[in-house]
């Protein structure tokens, strides 16, 4: 079975009924997608399949031959964060961090689908199937709206290391 994962062609084994989540985590070592419920309920396993946000715990490998898969690892590393990643970080939209990869991918799909600024209710609609038990929803919506408008603060006042150096 062939997949294109984060732009790289990959050949994977496993039988046709193996969930994509397991292939990503256990075979390809891409552990950004999380196994929160393995029921399709919580959204922590969301990845993009041919650009659409999908629950990888419910997607069976047999239906995915040749598909383009994007995981959180494909959005941007620490040195080249996407606007959404920057907005999530600087607006504290990631609390415990467990739902963050799924939220980011669903939000990425929204901002690709609709260029330009998005409204709060569009974000709520796009992320409605994603569970954040830390209940940080307001900051998450703030971050997506900010990223859609290019409103990045871009300057966290001071770095953590700087503060540690100053012996807070």
């Amino acid at each position: 079975m062939k997949l294109i994962v984060n732009g790289q062609p990959r050949t994977v084994g496993g039988n046709a009924l193996t969930p994509l989540l397991r292939v990503l985590r256990e075979e390809l070592g891409l552990v950004g997608a999380k196994a929160g419920c393995q029921h399709g309920s919580c959204g922590t396993c969301t990845v993009l399949v041919d650009g659409q946000p999908r629950r990888s715990c419910l997607l069976l490998l047999g239906s995915l031959d040749g598909a383009q898969i994007t995981t959180v690892e494909g959005l941007g590393g620490p040195a080249c964060l996407s606007d959404l990643q920057v907005a999530f970080n600087e607006r504290y939209a990631a609390q415990c961090g467990f739902c963050t990869p799924g939220m980011l991918l669903a939000a990425t799909a929204l901002l690709r689908r609709k260029a330009g600024p998005v409204e709060r209710d569009e974000v709520v609609d796009a992320l409605g199937g994603h569970y954040c038990r830390c209940t940080g929803y307001v900051k998450i919506v703030d971050a997506v709206v900010a990223a859609s408008r290019g409103e990045l603060l871009g300057k966290m006042a001071v770095s953590t290391l700087e503060i540690r150096g100053a012996e807070l």
Binding site: G32, G36, G77, A94, G97, C134
Partner: protein, 470 residues
């Protein structure tokens, strides 16, 4: 003071948004096995027979553990506070709640482990379970523990109690007695990340345990007790936790995977399913709280009697502690000069109950605040006025006779009124946290303000408490 008022970057923020944060389930090691558990389908039963021989012979299976594999099977979550060990890691001759662990398998894949679990033979003799805390004293009810259905804080005293002032007198002189019953129910903490652990036996004989614990050193202590090893034999790795909300204080996955890793001589990972997390992990307790207030027509609370029945579930875990906190907080943020509070820890055949956000205090606040509204309604009084009158001021004393030096109840109530658009009359808006004077210092509160000195604390054996204790 560089950080105060500044947007300080989270040290793990970039890791969270790039998927580089490593949660327990994100670690895998060569040769790692997966664990799956056989759990009780019954709320109460004798376990007559457990036969793991078929499971042990299944493909991919490296270890099957039952209670006899655990060096010290019965441990308590708060033994360090003198609360007796009562909970087996794996069930022995009985099960006391649905979901209780009986045996755990470690196999090369999750599917193989699950298949082996299904091959374990168990024979139960079902018993009638006990669920209703209000029937704890009824003769003829099923007994959850050999010591009965009520936990004893002291050999001669079951309940956690608080006594302050002359309660009899308060209820004698009251214009009205207002009673209410409040029953907040069980709540699952439901973290996004299910409980998980990965135990690794190192070449030097030490164990490395990757844990989702909210209380890493506490979980290490409990694991060390089960294994009968000094804590120095264990290295716990944690801190990246996908939410806990109280439920990940309880320590189960760590000692189970540790025992499996020792038996299989391989790393063992155990990730609970969502069903296990919802059905078998501890919950916030269901509570039964009765309050009776002795009040005057003009809205002073003279005294309060309470009876709380806390549903601890099948084992103690942290219930005794939660009930102590609960009892100390039953006056809420208000000055109650005469208190008789009684809280009982009742054992039932529900899943063990434990911490969740507030840990015993949330239920007290819910009951007290709902009751304040009821008192106001009975008196035909504005609930804001009732609260602001009785709110703690400098010099008031708590039910446990702590003198409030810097209470903030009045400020908080005024801010809450502002935030909710309530237009308070000028005389209420002018109130402050400062010492009671004039109309805000009725005779019954004069005495309670002096009470700490009038009633010095003594130990239970009659010795005077050290200077400054009260």
């Amino acid at each position: 003071m560089k950080a105060v008022g500044a947007n300080v970057p989270r040290y793990d923020g970039v890791d969270h948004v790039t998927g580089r944060s490593r949660f327990v389930d994100d670690f895998s090691l060569p040769g790692m096995l997966w664990a799956k558990a056989l759990r009780s389908p019954l709320a109460s039963a004798r376990v007559l027979r457990v036969d793991t021989s078929r499971a042990e012979a299944m493909p991919g299976v490296h270890a099957v553990i039952t209670h006899s594999d655990v060096p010290k099977n019965v441990v308590g979550h708060q033994e360090f506070w003198g609360i007796a060990a009562d909970e087996p890691l794996l069930a022995e001759h009985e099960v006391r709640f649905v979901g209780q662990l009986i045996a755990v398998v470690a196999a090369e894949t999750e599917a193989q482990a699950l298949a082996a679990v299904l091959a374990i033979e168990v024979e139960f003799e079902e018993r009638e379970p006990f669920f209703d805390v209000r029937k704890a004293w009824d003769s003829g009810q099923p007994q959850v523990t050999p010591d009965g259905n009520i936990y004893f804080y002291y050999p001669d005293q079951p309940q956690r109690q608080v006594r302050k002032g002359d309660v009899e007198a308060a209820f004698t002189v009251a214009d009205v007695v207002v009673e209410g019953v409040y029953r907040p129910t069980a709540v699952e903490q439901a973290p996004a990340e299910p409980a998980s652990a990965l135990s690794v036996l190192e070449p030097n004989g030490r164990l490395t345990v990757h844990s989702t614990s909210q209380a890493l050193y506490y979980s290490m202590e409990i694991t060390a007790r089960h294994l009968c090893v000094p804590v120095g034999q264990l290295k716990f790795v944690g801190g990246t936790v996908g939410g806990g909300f109280g439920g990940k204080i309880d320590t189960v996955t760590e000692p189970v995977t540790a025992v499996l890793a020792l038996k299989a001589r391989r790393p063992v990972k155990w990730r609970w399913t969502r069903e296990e997390e919802m059905l078998c992990s501890s919950t916030r307790a269901p509570w039964h709280i009765e309050i009776a207030d002795a009040v005057t027509k003009d809205g002073w609370i003279l005294g309060r009697r309470t009876l709380t029945l806390h549903d601890a579930g099948a084992y103690m875990r942290t219930s005794a502690y939660a009930c102590s906190k609960h009892t100390f907080h039953l006056a809420g943020a208000y000055s109650v000069p005469a208190c008789a509070f009684n809280t009982f820890v009742v054992m039932t055949n529900h899943v063990p109950t434990a911490a969740m956000r507030g840990f015993g205090v949330t239920s007290a606040s819910f009951a007290v605040e709902t009751h304040m509204n009821r008192v106001a309604e009975v008196l035909g009084m504005d609930p804001w006025e009732l609260r602001l009158k009785n709110a703690n001021r400098v010099g008031d004393t708590s039910p446990t006779r702590v003198v409030y030096a810097n209470p903030s109840t009045v400020t908080t109530l005024l801010a809450a009124a502002d935030a909710s658009g309530v237009d308070l009359p000028a005389e209420l808006r002018a109130m402050s946290n400062g010492k009671r004077v004039g109309a805000l210092l009725p005779a019954h509160l004069v005495e309670q303000q002096r009470e700490p000195k009038a009633h010095p604390l003594v130990w239970r054996d009659g010795r005077p408490a050290p200077e400054g204790s009260n």
